[in-house]
Amino acid sequence: MSVGMPALFAFLMALLIWPLMGLAFGWFSSDGSSFSGEAFDLWKSDRMLQMLGRSAVVALGSSVLCVLAAVGLSIFGESVSKARREGAIVLCLFASLITPYVSTQGYISLLGEAGPIWTWLEIGAPFDIYSERGLIVLLSFSLFPWAFALVGVGSRRIGSRVGETLRMHRASRIEWLQLYYIPKYTVAAGAAFLLVFMFSFWAYEIPSMLRVNLMSIELMAAFGSFYDFRSALALAIGPLAVSAILIGALFRLYTRLDETSTRSEMLGETSLLRARWFQVGIGGYLLLAVVLPAYGLVIEVGSWQALRENLIGFRSEIASSASVGLVSLGVALALSVYAIGALRFENHQRLIGALAIVATVLLCLPDALKGMGAAYFFSQPWMGPFSGGQGFAIGIASSLPLALLAAWIIWSAWSDRQNEWSRSCRIGYLSKLRRLAIPIFADRFVLLGAIAFAWTTREVPSTLLNHPPGGATLAVSIETLLHFEQPDKVASLCLAQLGLTVCVFAVAFGLRALFSRPRFQ
């Protein structure tokens, strides 16, 4: 592994900066006029400042909503078993992996100006869904699972005894707050807030559908129309600086999370009411985030026959989605297998930390920016066989951060005892991988593959910038059709996308059940 470690480290560092390198190389390759002057001119305009403010307000609103809902539901979740809590998190994450177009189009169909709900109630639409308020609500629906997962997994370990002690001592509400809820949830809620803030600040799909102009749309417009790296970099430089600060803050919080967090314990048997509220909350979310929008789509399409007719012309898009998803799946699996093998088996703690940082930074960077980096590199002739392989570029752009994050999560499940045992047996890297890691983590790899697939096929900005002619995915086709006022076709494609995701997850859960086996403790 002595050669593999520096190589991996160099690779990780390259990953971290490749989107920016792509932009920078693109800029150098254009004419040599003053970039700083151009950026300054751009950012001193009222329009840009207004857009930045609007993006920040929308991100703030959705972050607050997400964190409040996540903490509230996590408090109720203390009353159910760990398995149920984790199951709820997985279900919610599944809902978030369905492209936001599905839920947004569903809500537009249901709650738009001529939505069936208002017709049924015989009232006019009480609010305009095409507004910043509508955007905040829909972004919150889409991003809530991330906040819920982070708060649920990362909340500080305050065992059941603390709650019981406070209950037995008849502690006041203020004491409960001071001695239980604030210590338990503050750090995780802070981290969740920062993560959701960055995700919603750079969100593309939902603002695009609701026609609310945010930074991400401006970034796409600046680059996507003319492939102008210079304008894109000038536009991105300010928000990226803010993102860098937020990512730094996220990591400071994360370090504290890492020191203190494990799963929280049950509070005992006396919180049946809370457990019911938890179930109602999760059920309600899934109903609102998946079932209701899907129902809206079905209403919009009208009939099975109409769905078939609408999808006939989009066979190649369905195939493209599947192929891009499979590339992403392969990249995610290969990289995570390599990373966990190379890092954890040899106890390289610093590299493991670097892995987590790279993964999080890449995850938090806007998809459009990652897409631009990929577009630059994969258009260069020196990429050899990968040059012009845009499908590969899409897969790389989407799956790398996910793969790194997955590798890091899987690493955390690899206990020291397993490491010591494998070392004492003196088995080689490949043997460790084949005989230990893969059998132990097979179920997680399967789930990772499904997530990578769904993550890539749902993504728009990077795919939009990189897809080859005639190789648009379903999500990109939805984005394109949005501008042509064809709601029934959009709804049909959304249903196809939903069906594809559901199928992949159904296969993944089936395989996961097959591979599940008792692990070492």
């Binding site: 065992g159 005894r161 603390v162 019981e164 002690t165 406070l166 209950r167 037995m168 001592h169 008849r170 502690a171 006041s172 004491e175 001695l179 005992g268 048997e269 006396t270």
Partner: protein, 323 residues
């Protein structure tokens, strides 16, 4: 008085407690003992109201019950006094006036301004105990208190706390798997086995007249002899008087019941086959083969040279078991 009537508890279909009925009278100290997994902690949690039972009822009659768990709780960022006053009502000075006397009684008044995170394990546990005592409970349940201290420190701490609780007339339940702690602290002991009450009574009755081999072994080293061999043994061991052999299935003999000494030409001195000798500080314990396949443990104040004739005397009647 707190009364438990017919308490049963099941976890995922597995029976943990079965028809437990107990009464706890004001000011008395009780011990609930038994091997690991007997259901002691579950019973304590049910009495404290932290878990519900599947069957049965608990009459608390408005009494306040507090449980100090083995993995006690202190907030490390708070000082000892703030830890002790959690849950107390009133202004700060009033809360302090309730807690400080208990801090003094448990010997940690001088630490009241120290953060509990900086204290030793024993001091932290005392701080958590002060919180429980300051809340003026009618019944205090102490689950394996000071389990992580060395035996000497644990015993002296337990004695101090027990005396303080007696002084305040607080009904106390000690949950322990240490027989010596139970015997020395409690007025009444309940032995749990397999989720059921196997025996209940004063410490002496459980030690001297255990109802089963399990209980007898729990309270200390004991050798068992089938009743059919008693007649033969009575010929070898001095002062062994056989009575009730019709109903007794086997006898239990503790080491202190059998005293070994050199015969010096008197009594039933003989050469015994001794397999092991253990030095316990205050005495010696010798495992001897009294008959073919029958091993007994005898004690002596002095070391014994087993190559010389030794007489073994039964100092008190052995425990009798009917089954």
């Amino acid at each position: 008085m707190i009364v438990c009537e017919g308490i049963s508890k099941r976890y995922q279909g597995r029976r943990v407690l079965e028809s437990i009925s107990l009464r706890f009278e004001k000011g008395r100290q009780y011990a609930i003992v038994g091997p690991s997994g007997a259901g002691k902690t579950t019973l304590a949690r049910i009495i404290a109201g932290l878990e519900k039972c599947n069957e049965g009822m608990i009459e608390r009659n408005g009494d306040r019950v507090l449980l100090c768990p083995q993995d006690f709780v202190v907030w490390p960022h708070l000082n000892v006094l703030d830890n002790a006053t959690v849950g107390l009502k009133g202004v700060a000075s009033a809360r302090e006036s309730v807690a400080v006397p208990w801090l003094s009684k448990l010997g940690i008044e001088g630490l009241k301004d120290r953060r509990t995170g900086d204290l030793s394990y024993g001091q932290q546990q005392r701080a958590s105990l002060v919180r429980a005592l300051a809340a003026s409970p009618d019944l205090l349940i102490l689950d394996e208190p000071f389990a992580h201290l060395d035996p000497q420190a644990r015993r002296s701490s337990l004695r101090e706390i027990s005396d303080s609780l007696r002084g305040e007339n607080v009904t106390t339940i000690w949950i322990t798997h240490d027989a010596q702690d139970a015997l020395s602290l409690a007025d009444e002991i309940t032995f749990l086995s397999g989720g059921q009450v196997a025996q209940q009574g004063e410490p002496g009755s459980l030690y001297e007249n255990p109802k089963s081999r399990e209980i007898a072994e729990f309270f200390g080293r004991i050798s068992f002899v089938e009743a059919s061999l008693a007649l033969e043994l009575s010929g070898l061991i001095s002062k062994w008087k056989i009575a009730g052999e019709d109903t007794v299935a086997f006898y239990g003999i503790r080491p202190e019941m059998l005293v070994a000494d050199y015969a010096n030409g008197k009594g039933r001195g003989r050469i015994w086959k001794c397999s092991t000798t253990e030095y316990l500080g205050h005495s010696y314990q010798h495992e001897i083969e009294a008959l073919e396949g029958v091993r007994l443990v005898a004690s002596s104040r002095k070391p014994i040279d087993w190559s010389k004739p030794v007489s073994i005397e039964l100092m008190q009647a052995p425990c009798e078991f009917t089954s």
